[in-house]
Amino acid sequence: MANVHQFDVVVVGGGGAGLMAGLYASKTAKTAVISKMYPTRSHTGAAQGGISAALGNYEEDKPEWHMYDTVKGSDYLGDQDAIEFMTNEAIDAVLELEHMGLPFDRTPEGRISQRPFGGHTNNETGKPVRRAAHAADRTGHMILQTLYQQCLKNKVNFFDEYQVLDFIIVNGKAAGVVAVQLSTGELHTIHAKAVIFATGGYGRIFEVTSNAYAYTGDGPAILFRHGIPLEDMEFFQFHPTGIYKLGILITEGARGEGAVLINDKGERFMPKYAPTVKDLASRDVVSRAVYTEIKEGRGIGGKNFVYLDIRPETVNKFAALDGRTNPDGSPVLITGDTVLLKIPDIVDFCRVYLGVDPVTQMMPIQPTAHYAMGGIPTNKFGEVVIDDKGTAFPGLFAAGECACVSVHGANRLGTNSLLDIVVFGKHAGLKAAEYSKTVEFEKLPEDAESASRSEFEALRTGPGKANVYDLSNEMKKVMFSEVGIYRNEKDMQSALEKVRQLKKQFKDITVSDTGKIFNTELLNAWELGNLLDIAEVVALSALNRKESRGGHSREDFPDRDDKNWLKHTLVWKKNDKLEIGYKPVVITKHQPKARVY
């Protein structure tokens, strides 16, 4: 162990949650952030539409409404104590970002501008409310930049381009992580009292996804292999508007600005599915609607896509029909320039990838795998909880998309992910630093890096029958078609078997690159191992849950079943077998009722 570093707190992941955790932990504890990419490359930067908080800068809004919308959005599976905590913290969290320098768009009065988003409502009228604080359609980019800048200002220690490989446990407590420095191939041990995982999502298990290549579920997979359970993995969000075939996200902010969904007959179809908020229903609802239109033959030209239409004449027509007005009561009359101002990046994506100009043409879209509601179970302080009784694993924390608090339950509301990373990143950082004051360093084992070394060795010396590229594509196809928007027993059983088959083939992989410096082939192979572990848990959890709720829609069990399934799923790996358990949902203010938009 030539390369050992010692920190009170080590944060794994340099996206929004990791940077926020690093920023707050470093205020009182010696902290390092390790990240497999330069932090500014993290996927937080791809988030577009906004971050929600009941600032009420245009119209009346309250944290209680934000809470109820989040609970309803979660299809009553979110833990209401955690949701209330988050929505109460939201206003201060957004103001803090502004104070850090985040360049939000502004209202005419100079306040933070807000836009409508799916499922954000005035609870008294049921009408959409402007709650999403935004910076054009690059809100995530601005959050990532701002937090990185603050970390530089506060001299947080960064290990850029270090890939985490393992979590070190000594005497049942967190003792650090093992990582490989990509530029040298050297293994490093980061000895720490507290470890915070903030590694993001795992959408790369699916074929059509808005997620970055880096989203390979590293944190959840590593902890799962160490016996930590994963929670609610059956709940994966398909965002309704991905660019056809490519899956690149088109923000819900487009519909917030008045865009509507159109089928092959030229009909605006959302009023059939969500009579009150129409195109601004929750994402699971809209994705199912798009899927149903396509399945019933109303995809454009019979193909697997529909149109998203933000052409000014369309927006203005439907705004008038819906009685939607500007904050000052004047009629909505947008122009091509409004489109360029409000969603400039989307216009750019459409022009580059589709040769389509959204100002004058409709955008072909299909649902795209977008966000993992499930993940590493935590409480609202980011402490990882390993059973149904809330037992915390000493020194282990998680925050952001890799964690499951659970504030998103069965379906996340748009803009709550950016809020989640800021609020829970901060609290995980604070709690980890506080914890580190109460304990001593555990003594490191003789060779903490041995497991990582063997994993790499196996990948380098396999019999070479399988190829990373082909296995990975096979997994993505299977997961997208058989554990996708609509699910059934037969398909999921088949998917589970195929993933298990692929896991066996994975053992036969050989990496051809024998070098140490930037051996990306070896890393990609290792990441595929994580994705396969995660895919198995997703398929198993989905097969096990015999109801439809939020992002989990079963053709064979089309209704929500509160009597039997108002509970979180936990899956553990025990003696190489997967074991399923449950824990109760925390319900405080809002009893489950039918979910209608």
């Binding site: 490359r41 791809a46 580059v352 590229y469």
Partner: protein, 235 residues
């Protein structure tokens, strides 16, 4: 369609110097150059090294030279560059392996710009946001778009001539704060940029503006910084 892609290869553990390898793959004119690279890596030579993540032009990982000009591989389609493609690493930064360059000097220059909000004045008494008009916000919008891909800096002849020059991307980072009405650090940054390795090294070649995958008018932004230095005004 058949795509022929010639790629700069350099493995420091094996090669004394770089060389080119040519690969022929079956692809589509709507494929991104990144897709073509993935195909080569996945099917033909797994050791090919390049950075990539978001694959749609917002993370800034995969800037490289494509047919002689700096682009993001994920934002350049085969139909834009044709079926004969040459891909090389960025110029002006040391090649670490194949298409991967050492980004440390680039980020070091960024850090020299004090790239964070400087404002020690008390927050508004109501605890709410600092006010900023839409016009004030629009003043620095362009430079907030930067994804630090380094396409501009490594296209700049002044940067090639002297790697002491902070480079266009660093000046864009400074611009983003200098013209933000809430920031109070403009004079510090203008001082830094008035040194030998600052804006004086910009000779308005416009390569940076042409290279920017985010369409930031970089040369104009640098010009605004120069003007602020001369006039002491930030409007």
């Amino acid at each position: 369609m058949e795509i022929t892609i010639k790629i700069f290869r350099y493995d420091p553990e094996k090669d004394e110097r770089g060389h080119y390898e040519t690969y022929v793959v079956e692809g589509d004119e709507n494929d991104r150059v990144l897709d073509v690279l993935e195909l080569v890596k996945g099917k033909t030579d797994g050791s090919l090294a390049f950075r990539r993540s978001c694959a749609h032009g917002v993370c800034g990982s995969d800037a490289m030279r494509i047919n002689g000009r700096n682009h993001l591989a994920c934002k350049t389609l085969v139909r834009d560059v044709g079926a004969n493609i040459t891909v090389e690493p960025l110029l002006g930064l040391k090649v670490a392996k194949d298409l991967i360059v050492d980004m440390e000097p680039f980020f070091d220059n960024y850090k020299k710009m004090l790239p964070y909000m400087i404002n020690d004045s008390p927050l508004p008494a109501d605890g709410k946001e600092r006010l900023q008009s839409p016009e004030q916000r629009a003043r620095f919008d362009e430079s907030t778009k930067c994804i630090m891909c380094a396409a501009c800096t490594t296209a700049c002849p002044s940067y090639w001539a002297s790697d002491e020059y902070y480079g266009p991307a660093a000046i864009v980072a400074a611009h983003r704060f200098i013209f933000d009405s809430r920031d109070e650090g403009a004079s510090q940054r203008l001082h830094i940029l008035s040194e030998t390795d600052g804006t004086a090294r910009c000779h308005t070649a416009y390569n940076c503006t042409e290279a920017c995958p985010r369409d930031i008018k970089i040369t104009k932004a640098i010009g605004e910084v120069k003007m602020a230095m001369i006039t002491g005004k930030l409007d």
